[in-house]
Symmetry: C2
Subunit: 203 residues, 2 copies
DNA sequence: AAATATTTTAAACAAATGTTTAAATTTTTT
DNA sequence: AAAAAATTTAAACATTTGTTTAAAATATTT
């Protein structure tokens, strides 16, 4: 197994991501980051100019890591059922591999979103094949007619929220991280089943 | 209309809640709070001893404001369908009146939850009538058998997550706050319908 | 009304924090 | 090998920030 040697810059960036995701911008100090990188504060600024710039770079990546897969899968050319199963499966795998990601992204976006603004514009203007697809299926009479924005939001909620409330769930249900992940794996079936059962039984 | 005169202590606490909820502990300064209260930093510490103590007091209240209604309604003595409708309705009304509440509570609970720990213990050990009720209905054959922890989590997710991602939703769908709240009101029907449709169509 | 307690203000302090400087070390280029 | 460039280190700097002090103003009690 070839171990790719990480540059100092990469080490610092990885450390920064770890600390920012764990504690958020406001609770993170430059010294925190330097220590986690076994480095020093001067090097952090040498490579990234400032805490703010370093944060922006990491936030931008995390934002993309979160929303790019969503857009990609929802715009896939797949039948509805397969798409929903794939979406839930892949998102849960992603979030298991980076469980702090959504809490970080959404918490840094609160308050009259100073930090973002631009990111949204670059990211999301692409058309939404998923909503179109739902409309088509409804037109064909395969699923019920309803406000599909609500369906999409519920899908996102059921996938993402458990990771946002991970600590609460783990404490309430007394779960180890492993057990929590198994609980999430169960959702790969439970969520699509709920969505599809609802869609297929017209009101 | 009688205008109850607020004490300095109350003014400062209200200001602190506003700022903490908007920016989180780490991004809030004592001076922030003092300014929002049209007061000064010495008074903040005069009444609350420290930023940390003031925060703890507010977090404790917010934690209760979030989870007490959940426990109360889910333990209500109501038939399943009525309970689910009531739960969604009341939670959405609560969150509309305090939309930053869940983001605040969950974001301050992340990382190996230093600040909480104790709160969980005081709060949640009460039995969960909702899960028992689901088991009963399943035993009677009225709803499908499944892991009801997943149902409960999905219910929470669909109610709470939209407020956590409020800014994202407002930007993506170009909504004013009023429009966003109308979108949330729609969920008072959409969410119970989805849950109940799923439960009533056994697999 | 005098004495006492409480509240408020302005200023100061100490520690923490983001950033920079300048020298030392290492790496790369000539 | 010498020169130049890039990286690393330790220290210092300037702000910001949480907290405290001491005096002034106000309210309460005697």
């Amino acid at each position: 197994m070839i171990k790719h040697e990480l540059s100092t810059e990469e080490i610092i960036k990885d450390a920064a991501k770890k600390v920012f995701l764990e504690k958020g911008f406001g609770n993170t100090t430059t010294r925190d980051i330097a220590e986690h990188a076994s480095s020093n504060i001067a090097l952090v600024n040498y490579y990234f100019r400032s805490k703010e710039k370093l944060f922006q770079e990491i936030f931008r990546e995390c934002f993309a890591d979160t929303f790019a897969p969503i857009a990609r899968i929802l715009n896939d050319d797949l039948p509805l059922e397969a798409k929903i199963y794939k979406f839930v499966d892949q998102m849960i795998e992603l979030l298991k591999s980076d469980p702090m990601l959504p809490m970080f992204v959404f918490s840094e976006m609160r308050g009259e979103n100073s930090k973002i603004g631009s990111l949204m514009a670059e990211m999301h203007p692409k058309e939404n094949r998923f909503l179109l697809q739902l409309e088509e299926e409804a037109a064909k009479g395969n699923i019920r007619k309803t406000n599909f924005d609500q369906i999409e939001l519920s899908l996102m909620s059921m996938v993402i929220f458990p990771f946002i409330s991970m600590n609460m769930i783990k404490m309430k249900q007394n779960l180890t991280t492993e057990e929590f992940y198994r609980f999430m794996d169960e959702r790969k079936k439970a969520i699509p089943e709920m969505i599809l059962t609802y869609l297929r039984h017209r009101g």
